[in-house]
């Protein structure tokens, strides 16, 4: 089953991006790594043959990254005082 190894590799990639999202020092860096994590999740779903779920994950990934960035902007401006 070639799929298993490819799948395993993708999930491994997800694990790497997930860990680096958590252990990045700067918030913006971790948010970027987080969107990479979501991106690899989309790829994993595709290799698992779930187009609907992949599409939704992609869209939700975009929206959640936007939310994170917007929230971060307000926090940066907010935390200045």
């Amino acid at each position: 089953m070639p799929g298993a190894f490819f799948l395993g590799f993708l999930v491994f990639l997800m694990a790497v991006t997930g860990l680096s999202a958590l252990f990045a020092r700067d918030l913006l860096a971790s948010i970027i790594m987080f969107s990479a994590f979501s991106y690899f999740a989309v790829l994993t779903y595709l290799t698992m043959g779930a187009p609907d779920v992949a599409f939704t994950e992609a869209v939700v990934g975009v929206v959640s990254t936007t939310f994170f960035i917007v929230a971060l902007r307000r926090m940066k401006r907010g935390s200045s005082k």
Partner: protein, 254 residues
Amino acid sequence: MKFVRAGALLVVVVMTVVLFIGAGALPAIYNPQSPASTHVSDRYIEKSVEETGSLNFVTAVLADYRGYDTLGETTVIFTAGLAAVVLLRSAQKADSRGKKVPLAKAGKGMSERFGTIVLNTAARFVIPFVTLYGVYVLVGGGEGNPGGGFQSGAVLAIAIIISRLVYGEGAAFNISGDLALILAGIGTFIYAFVGVLTLLWGGNFLEYGIAPFLMSAAEKHSLGISGIEIGVTLCVMATIIAIFDALARKEEVS
């Protein structure tokens, strides 16, 4: 504090080990005879085309066999919208203490625009296609390609967010926070109302086959499915915008 930290770490490690050992007892991946692939899903695959008239099995299961789950699902996203708005609205001074602000202009705070010349032109080009694609995803779902209420709602929301980011809050192509919340409520209400309609016609909740139109069962089901898909799209789009508006709103008075 140290002690609690160590205790928690211990619990997490133990839990991981237990799960890893337990994973062995799970049925092997990819084997077609695994209980999950044989017990319930075969009927979805074989009968969903003639029963629900939708080529995409996932949409069939999502909107028809387990349609009630998706109603719950849409309500979840609506609740999230409510919670986010009530939270950030209470953070600001309760400005509109009861006096009615016309919906369209409600929440028309000044928010800075990122619109430089490059972004303006790019946005002017991108937004129509994104919206068109969103509508296509909603309509195309029936003909057997992936897509449906959630995806199209989100894509349309992205279109509006792009316009909101680039042209600021005054952009024509924008929905105010309060209006978005009400729209989300209406969207989910459409979904629930389709269910209530089937109740009124005498069937169980969300039983599309009971509709009194002169159509084959499959067409009735696909009509029902597209009905609720529209509700879902409206709700998801409006909620994402409501949450975005709540997050991005630069409160006027700090």
